[in-house]
Symmetry: C2
Subunit: 515 residues, 2 copies
Amino acid sequence: MNGAESLVGTLAAGGCEVCFTNPGTSEMHIVAALDRQTRIRSVLALFEGVVTAAADGYARMTGKPACTLLHLGPGFANGIANLHNARRARVPIVNIIGDHATFHLKHDTPLQSDIEALARPLSAWLRTSRSASEVGQDAADALLAAQCGGGQVATLIVPADLAWLEVGKIAPIAPAPNLPIPSSTTVDRAAKMLRANLHTAILVSGNALYGGGLAAAARITAATGARLLAPYPITRIERGSGRAVIDRIPYVPEQATELLREFRQLILVGGMSPFSYFAAPGRGSKLTPADCEIFSLAEPQQDCAGALHALIDALSLRGSSAALLEKKAELAIPHGDITLPGLATAIAATLPENAILIDESMTSGRGIFAATRGAKHHDVLVNTGGSIGIAMPLAVGAAVACPDRRVLCLSADGSGMYTSQALWTMAREDLKVTTVIFANREYTVLRREFANLGIGKPGPQARSLFDIGRPNLDWVALAKGMGVPGRKVASLEEFGNALQAGYESQGPSLIEVPV
Amino acid sequence: MNGAESLVGTLAAGGCEVCFTNPGTSEMHIVAALDRQTRIRSVLALFEGVVTAAADGYARMTGKPACTLLHLGPGFANGIANLHNARRARVPIVNIIGDHATFHLKHDTPLQSDIEALARPLSAWLRTSRSASEVGQDAADALLAAQCGGGQVATLIVPADLAWLEVGKIAPIAPAPNLPIPSSTTVDRAAKMLRANLHTAILVSGNALYGGGLAAAARITAATGARLLAPYPITRIERGSGRAVIDRIPYVPEQATELLREFRQLILVGGMSPFSYFAAPGRGSKLTPADCEIFSLAEPQQDCAGALHALIDALSLRGSSAALLEKKAELAIPHGDITLPGLATAIAATLPENAILIDESMTSGRGIFAATRGAKHHDVLVNTGGSIGIAMPLAVGAAVACPDRRVLCLSADGSGMYTSQALWTMAREDLKVTTVIFANREYTVLRREFANLGIGKPGPQARSLFDIGRPNLDWVALAKGMGVPGRKVASLEEFGNALQAGYESQGPSLIEVPV
């Protein structure tokens, strides 16, 4: 058994089932090892930004790490932007990066770079294998590290000669540690805050946004009158009929401030205090009122759901009911000209039961979260780190993770151009993803920020840098170029019909919506 | 004048004429400053991998730095792979990266990252501005640093509040230093080697590959019988009739070893001793014979052309003639089925006078360098760092630099999918670039390396990871999607005609060639 086989064998033994990859020459022995086993499915992407976000999407839906296999420093570098998002999402990912053979490094050949330096800022755990006999143990350590703290990016660099030397061995797998729950003092403090007669919000993250954690949060807010909130960046949230009533803090600082104005107490569960994404001249970054007491019930690396169950006990709420959304009357697909509210209604009306909704629709989609509040049960995944270009590859990962669920992927045109290569992987793997491109032909967020910053009216050069409609991007052609059938719609009815056709097809499809 | 205006004003005063960019919110004041002046042209790209390689292409053709304007850590990260190539190309580039306002950093909001850590491995010079009044001086220092050592990547991080504070001032511009030439001892040693009766090769890089430097090299080899060689990775080389007879060391190690076998002396001019790109089990990385003496006449950061002129003096070769290629009889466009040699001949036959040929055709294009040996005068730019996905954005930069020259951009399909967004910028800027996609529908280099490494026959998973033809990429559709007219050709004659039509058109075009 060589080092590569011990690597792959250990990952498989540890429950890793998928490898998203774009390998190169220095990873050929690892490719050969993947080739000789059947427990890990290899999924090829044509660009590493797709690889890393697909691993993120897979982890968000399964709670388990996928591995990525990346080619040297530059291959890893192409995946950094979406690893930035994955780091913010707190998901488990194991990156395997090949390096030159150790004896080759002294020649500083063209593809050489300082891989550790590139990987360090993104990786909670980072190691370069030092001997072929230890590669298996390195893989086991990486797997364990990825599953600590609620989910982390672990990166293992494997020099080519350590992959090919015949001294590898499969390492034993350590069980992933349970997440710690907060102390009873902390829980009692939160309980006391909820018993006070003050406007209180509970801002939940992590595993308190779905399943039992979210149900617990809904029981607490029903019993105490506190308001349940989600942050703007959300790794995964369960929504729709039968699920908790929960509002999301808006992206626009003025809207967020307005929402938070009434609260005198804010209890954080696994997240950070809300601040604006960006600073602006003469404006503070803080979104909560000055006299709002902020208390953290659970830190991000703790068990948010467990913290809420402990809080239920502390509040003696066992058996109490939750504030849940009732099933809405079926919505009809709207008719007429395309409007942003109409698109949101059409999405809410057609969303299939148990769908996964990926939302990177940026400014065009700001009404969708509200519109889908009472839609059929679904999960929503959004951009957690603000690095644009995540939607389509995240959809790849979610669809690989959940082959029985329909994935609706909403992307702005500007962000979509970052990682459109994901469409090819959707076609290759027959993934049931319906991608909607909101084609407003500009970086609207930048035009608005320019106006908000008080810099004056944009002139020709600035306007040109916000305008991505010259030439116009033809998304139906781009999708065709990558093997995905697409159509452009001209009315809300056409849009609704295209969505339904997408949900019924056996593979991916794309809908371009001029907005 | 705010910090952003002092930044832009200083860059303009220092001769920076182009800014390749994809800005974000934190760069809006710099966008406003670009907007309010007319000396720097802003060129938008839809992905930062295009931005950085375009700056590289611009620098290769002008010898001057363009600036890039990038959005925070993730925006920079997307440009790293092609900065890796630019670093190896030793070209001058000034990266400007926006950061959050200094007072906002403590909140660790979603887009925050350690930008310095990401930029350090790529940057010969790196600074974060510390005060708005110093941003102008920081820009001047960055410009100077970029022009040192023959060309370097200089990176300046500008926090948003330092861009908007009204205390900026334009900084004085220091002249770029002259490159040092080697000592007379070193030159005399090289001269002595050339007078010895031994098989000798001169391996030239940097500014010895074009203009007066290359002419000097050709005179030396004509007089001494030494063979003139270029490395496989070339920043820029001048070729065709009337230019030097020069051979390129092949990528394939066995072919390189064969070429270098006869030499007992190798004189390096601005480059490194040749090694294989990758190591393999049981094979050394060294490509030169064990008994070949290797001597460096000029280091990469020295003046290669100046070193050769000094060598001419040391050899008393003033007024001697050079070994130059004669003008060949006009080649006819070949007819018949598409073959790799036929494609190479068609390219050589049609290449217009003074063209710029960008070559990232990978395995499909290995005959092109030989075939274009006696073509009309042209420059060739290739991938210098081995990070694939450079051709189309490099063509953008070369075409912006040289609006009066035709650019032929040769890309493999696999590498082309990394940064195909460059097509959109070609269309937007009406760049006279003819892009040829060699569509062999696989990562051929990986299939070959897998076979060469002695791992055995690839099974289904490995074969699948080399196969990018399932589904097939339709490059004509992809080009249409980004506003570039394309056609797919089925014969050599069609290919030749499509090339000629491309050279005659007023903007970009794309030719897909199934190979």
